[in-house]
Symmetry: C2
Subunit: 334 residues, 2 copies
């Protein structure tokens, strides 16, 4: 290995509210030699996703929090620079769950090899990766949109929402996005091909949503919570399905606001179900097989929002939590 130093970003203290750069610190260490079965990679792309806010908190959650002094977790794509596993050779490009660092030593079984001649590598962190698979599983396992139904997607221009809406459109549904600001709404309609998009910053959100959904709402893919959730829930049809994927609007809040009275769930026979895609590992390979041709032929659209340099990962995370990103958020590490 020509490279000898690994830079990492570790958690310095638990953020209150929005994560700040002072909540993290950089660390430099020698890159260790791989033990048998391990692979050393140089990070190319790091994915930044809203779920990461949960890892910074010691509130009980589905995954263990990152500890103070520990390297922040994250999915990344890297190039193998040393290998002590027969399945991987120097120069291979791999994807896996590692962390915010320039180099990683990872057990081989946690890595998947990528084809350098396939789709752009970064897509394996977005449209073809965890976010895309989340959208696929949410629609296949819970939302199940049918022809003629109305499907609403919040955070519609984001990595998950953009795929969820395009899948609903392929199923023949009327697809209405909710996004923040006119640029994102234009992108959702013009580029992603949603039938309509409502700006959640509008003072008349409820009325605009009603106008965009004249036949009510049959499927809601929930990424944000808050006022968007309240407005959508009022318009749900009998037998509606709500894919509870995330509620990013409250991830920085210490005290969670109260929510909807659930009486409507009985009368309308609504199904509200939570989704964590790692529960369904088989969906990852299914989705890649399904979506790779759509990415290759350009029929599945996506947008990337790229920060340059590992040191900008904290700022990128703060940005995605306040809706400043526009498309799949990535950090170009090397």
């Amino acid at each position: 290995m020509a490279e000898t130093v690994c830079r990492s970003i570790v958690l310095k203290r638990r953020p209150r509210g929005s994560p700040r750069i002072e909540d993290f610190e950089a660390r430099e260490e020698p890159i260790p030699e791989p033990k048998p079965g391990e692979v050393v990679t140089r990070t190319i792309w790091l994915s930044i996703d809203p779920y990461m806010r949960g890892r910074l908190s010691d509130r009980k959650s589905y995954a263990a929090p990152v500890q103070i002094g520990e390297v922040m977790t994250g999915e990344s794509i890297g190039e193998v620079i040393a290998s002590a596993d027969p399945g991987f050779a120097v120069g291979d490009v791999v994807v896996g769950s590692r962390g915010w660092q320039t180099h990683s030593v990872t057990p081989a079984e946690r890595l998947a090899k990528l084809d350098r001649n396939g789709p752009p590598l970064s897509t394996y962190l977005g449209v073809l990766g965890m976010p895309g698979t989340t959208a696929y599983s949410g629609m296949k396992d819970i939302g199940q949109p049918k022809k003629g139904e109305t499907v609403v997607i919040s955070a519609a221009s984001g990595a998950v929402g953009s795929v969820a809406g395009q899948l609903a459109g392929r199923a023949g549904a009327r697809v209405v996005g909710v996004a923040g600001g006119p640029d994102k709404c234009l992108f959702v309609q013009e580029t992603l091909g949603f039938d309509d998009c409502v700006d959640h910053r509008s003072v008349n959100l409820r009325e605009e949503l009603e106008r965009a959904c004249p036949n009510g709402i049959d499927v809601y893919f929930e990424n944000v919570g808050g006022g968007v959730q309240a407005a959508v829930f009022e318009l749900l049809n009998p037998f509606a399905r709500v894919v509870m994927c995330g509620m990013v609007s409250q991830y920085n809040e210490a005290e969670l606001p109260s929510g909807p009275n659930l009486g409507f769930v009985v009368g309308k026979r609504v199904r509200i179900e939570g989704l964590i895609v790692s529960d369904k590992p088989e969906r990852f390979a299914e989705w890649r097989a399904l979506a790779q041709p759509w990415v290759a032929d350009g029929s599945l659209r996506y947008r990337e929002d790229i920060y340059d340099g590992l040191e900008n990962a904290p700022a990128a995370l703060a940005g995605i939590l306040s809706g400043q990103n526009f498309g799949k958020l990535l950090v170009k590490v090397g």
Copy 2:
């Protein structure tokens, strides 16, 4: 027909808050002759159920409201006193959805004939009827309790809750009831055989529930809403199922209180689903076939709470909405 006068109870005005006797009025009319395909019955038993509060309100719901001046709806058991349908003869006993009246003229296809030599007739309005079927469908279609799981049932001594809990017990789950007052809690444990029962009037509801559910809660059969729902939701385990059958604590409220923040649904991958049993008509016959032997051999326990005389139906309805009933609420009409 020897009898000539039908007494009915009609809606006089929409109640505010708890229904009162002055919200209804009695009406007398001649009993009509049946037209071809119709059957005239003399009512024996009338069922009183919490859902009836919804019919008194013009708030949008899954079923049309009763109109002012219209006979109040309800399931009843009656004896045929005149028939213009070849399928029914004078003296047959039938069950069906009719109304609060001493006599009814009903299309034959809406009636089911009962065996006079079978279980007590009143059971076809309770443990073997709509409430029992609701419990069965809720557990089969949504709750799906497994051996070793913890199942909590609110309104546990009621017509639905008592069956739901016994079904969970038969599935091998730990069953914890929530009921109002020591008499009901004793009945739930001693007679129905639940593993534990918590009094929702306790000031330490949350702590007592936690003590009764040391391994958390995997299935919640929701009949009441309010503070019980809030306490249960805090204790739900990952992959918990919530059968949303009713929220009787708020049926008399004009303004619905806010509800739970739904962030936990994502992290815990909870499924919350509404149930109206009439959506699944096939479950009625399934349940009768399954449960009749259990009623006959005494292994499926139930309790009835009987008001005497049709004129007491409004008071009975007011009582069930405030938890004054103790068991399946019935009015003995004739």
